[in-house]
Amino acid sequence: MTRTTYLDYNASAPIRPQAAAAVGRALSMTGNASSVHGFGRRARACLEDAREVVAALVQAPPAAVIFTSGGTEANTLALRGLTRGRRVLVSAGEHPSVLNALEGCVHVSLTGDGVIDLARLEAALAADPQPALVSVMLANNETGVIQPIVAVVELARRFSALVHCDAVQAVGKIAVDMAALGVDCLSLSAHKIGGPQGVGALIAGETLAPAPILLGGGQERRRRAGTENLPGIAGFAAAAQAAGTGLDEAPRIAALRDDLERRARDVAPAAMILGADAPRLPNTSCIALPGWPAETQVMGLDLAGVAVSAGSACSSGKMAPSHVLRAMGADVAVVASAIRVSLGWASAAADVDHFIQAWGDVYARSTAARALHSPAA
């Protein structure tokens, strides 16, 4: 039987056993958390316990947590719900749910390292006296590059701008302290930290009242209508508890990732690691080898039982060139050859071995094929 190796955690992390157990327990409960009878009150208690755990994950008060259906909804709620006539400035490397949330928002480019260009952000803020809403992610989903949020907030404050931060990829991998970051609101997603799909949260300071997108019952302090997805939320909390600040798992995962990158360079000395010169998440590696199409690599790896991706999952169906790498000013050949390898809580040394072996095989085959067809050979 072929071994299967999953190295696409940034698309979706396998659910942690603790989270799966919590989901299973909650799925066996009866009741709507808004009902006032005993069944409803038990559901409500479970919901509020989960709210405390999720709040603690980012050092925020429980009342700041607005549960949503996921990161996309949280990002949309933050951007559409808080603009109220503000200009919107976002980094060009944001997730599509931020980039496309509003028409006419300004995209601030990244440096070659994959970090938001602070000088350009400052210029964009200074260009217009109208107050702004700035949205910059904490860590990029494709390169893992950690953005200088504290500096972004400092700049934004000078221009009385609000700051939203998409922390979907960062939380659980690095310590996230909302107050220390100084941001006004933060998006989270459960399935990126080993919780279930279909749940996320917008953490918004109590004084901040994003205008709701989903209207109806008065759930989530009237900021998000709809019966709370209790099993999802319970699973989210269990995953949050298990992931914590990520500090327990980080050294081990970083060591695996560094080993993977070193050995990838041994296989193909021309391989580039994008964003390697900036602070990065411990789990993400964006590897490019100009001239070798990403699609060939991803498919070859899949045949060998190794799951990675080219870019982010939502657009990988189309295999469009990565907007993140283009925003970094990367060469077309680099962009077309970049794959993303992302590790997580269940990753082990054997997964790295499998990746290197499979990637090496695919590389050797395609190098041989190229040599065969090349007129110089």
């Binding site: 299967t4 999953y6 696409d8 698309a11 979706s12 659910i15 299973g24 799925l27 066996s28 009866t30 009741g31 709507n32 808004s34 009902s35 006032v36 009878h37 005993g38 069944f39 409803g40 949503t68 259906s69 996921g70 996309t72 909804e73 949309t76 599509p96 749910s97 931020v98 496309n100 949330a101 399935h191 279930p196 799909q197 279909g198 749940v199 997108i213 989903l214 209207l215 109806g216 019952g217 008065g218 759930q219 209508a225 709809g226 019966t227 997805n229 209790l230 099993p231 999802g232 790896l301 899949d302 039982g305 799951a307 991706s309 080219a310 999952a313 939502c314 657009s315 990988s316 169906g317």
Partner: protein, 391 residues
């Protein structure tokens, strides 16, 4: 199984428990069969995608639609918001008029109010004492600017079934889109989007023994219904709903749809017997009990009963072992009497004296008999203990 020590759950319109068979189908997707259904370039993603597509077909089969006409959402609230705001905003420039009804779910009414703030004209149809709309009245308010009619298939508080097929025919005749909130209807009454001329239909997982956190919107393809999405992003769900589709929940909703379709007729018959038994047992000892909503055009799993002269809140407090409600869970913390019951024009404060009783798949005859006993006893105690103001 029925256990005399446990409270009896009779609030199936607020939420239905997840069927153990649904749970069994879903759970592997939280473990070994996990994957992001949009990661179509590797095996785990393809496996999740195949499961999501199978679920889509299962849901479509329940309502006579095509699989690609099903858009997954986080629930019926999102589906209703997407259908109503999405369709009205798309058509606003040419057709700035929407028709709905005063007894719709809060999420429909709130969406309509938001549209009013955006310059859309909204007509709120009244209902008769039976809880049903008047088709002639509907025909009279449709005009050349009408974009959309949104009327629920089954009311969540009183269980009455609106004349969906007739409404659909009328809308089709006038070239108006027809959306129906079928959260309380799916799996309980037959629904056929073609025969009933339905263009948009909202479904909810946890109202049909599937999981919470998932729902669906049926969006007709021929002729194509266009919507403005609520979320933009990865462009999933044909661009109508961005965000990772939660594969385990989608699978759960699919499994729930299969069971609902297979068992609807038999379960309907079983619940009708139980419901009639419950009503007969209460009525035998409380002869002045009032059934709110039409007596015949209703789903079998619901009774909304008025007890003249008794405060419903006090009655609920006197029934600690029976989980029932005074109305929608979304507003159950509110002290105001239900707006649905108020719309019926009930006599003499009956709106404040009514209980919603929901029967469901786990409901047994023993539970029904015990519930009837509890209600009868509680009513008698209230009437004995409280000075007879009404007499």
């Amino acid at each position: 199984m029925a256990n005399a020590d446990r409270p009896i759950y009779m609030d199936y319109q607020a939420s239905t428990p997840c069927d153990p068979r649904v749970l069994e189908v879903m759970l592997p997707f939280f473990g070994a069969r996990f994957g992001n259904p949009h990661s179509v370039h590797h095996h785990q993603g393809q496996q999740a995608e195949a499961a999501v597509e199978q679920a889509r077909a299962q849901i479509a089969a329940l309502i006579g639609a095509e699989a690609r006409e099903i858009v997954f959402t986080s629930g019926a609230t999102e589906a209703n918001n997407l259908a109503i705001k999405g369709a009205a905003r798309f058509l606003k420039a040419r057709k700035p008029h929407v028709i709905t009804c005063v007894t719709e779910h809060k999420c429909v009414l709130e969406s309509a109010r938001r549209l009013e703030g955006e310059g859309v004209r909204v007509t709120y149809l009244p209902v008769g004492g039976d809880g049903l709309i008047d088709l002639d009245h509907l025909a009279a308010v449709i005009d050349t600017e009408t974009a959309l009619v949104s009327l629920m298939a089954v009311n969540n508080e009183i269980g009455v079934i609106q004349p969906i097929a007739e409404i659909g025919a009328l809308c089709r005749e006038h070239g108006v889109l027809f959306h129906t909130d079928a959260a309380q209807a799916a799996g309980k009454i037959p629904l056929a989007v073609q025969a009933m001329n339905i263009d948009l239909m909202s479904l909810s997982g946890h109202k049909m023994y599937g999981p919470m956190g998932i729902g669906a919107l049926y969006v007709r393809r021929r002729p194509r219904v266009r919507l403005e999405p609520l979320f933009d992003g990865g462009g999933q769900e044909r661009g109508l709903r961005s965000g990772t589709v939660p594969a385990p929940l989608a699978v759960g909703l699919g499994a729930a749809a299969v069971i609902a379709r297979d068992e609807m007729a038999a379960e309907s018959a079983r619940l009708t017997v139980l419901r009639d038994r419950l009503l007969a047992r209460v009525r035998a000892r409380v002869p002045d009990v009032h059934l709110n909503g039409d007596a015949d055009r209703r789903i079998p799993g619901n009774l909304n009963l008025g007890f003249p002269g008794i405060e419903a809140e006090a009655l609920i407090r006197a029934l600690p072992d029976l989980a029932v409600s005074t109305g929608s869970a979304c507003t159950s913390a509110s002290v105001e009497p239900s707006y649905v019951l108020q719309a019926l024009g009930l006599p003499g404060g009956l709106a404040r004296s009514s209980l919603r009783l929901g029967l469901g798949r786990p409901t047994t005859q023993d539970e029904v008999d015990r519930a009837a006993e509890m209600i009868v006893a509680a009513v008698a105690r209230q009437r004995a203990g409280v000075p007879a103001i009404a007499e």
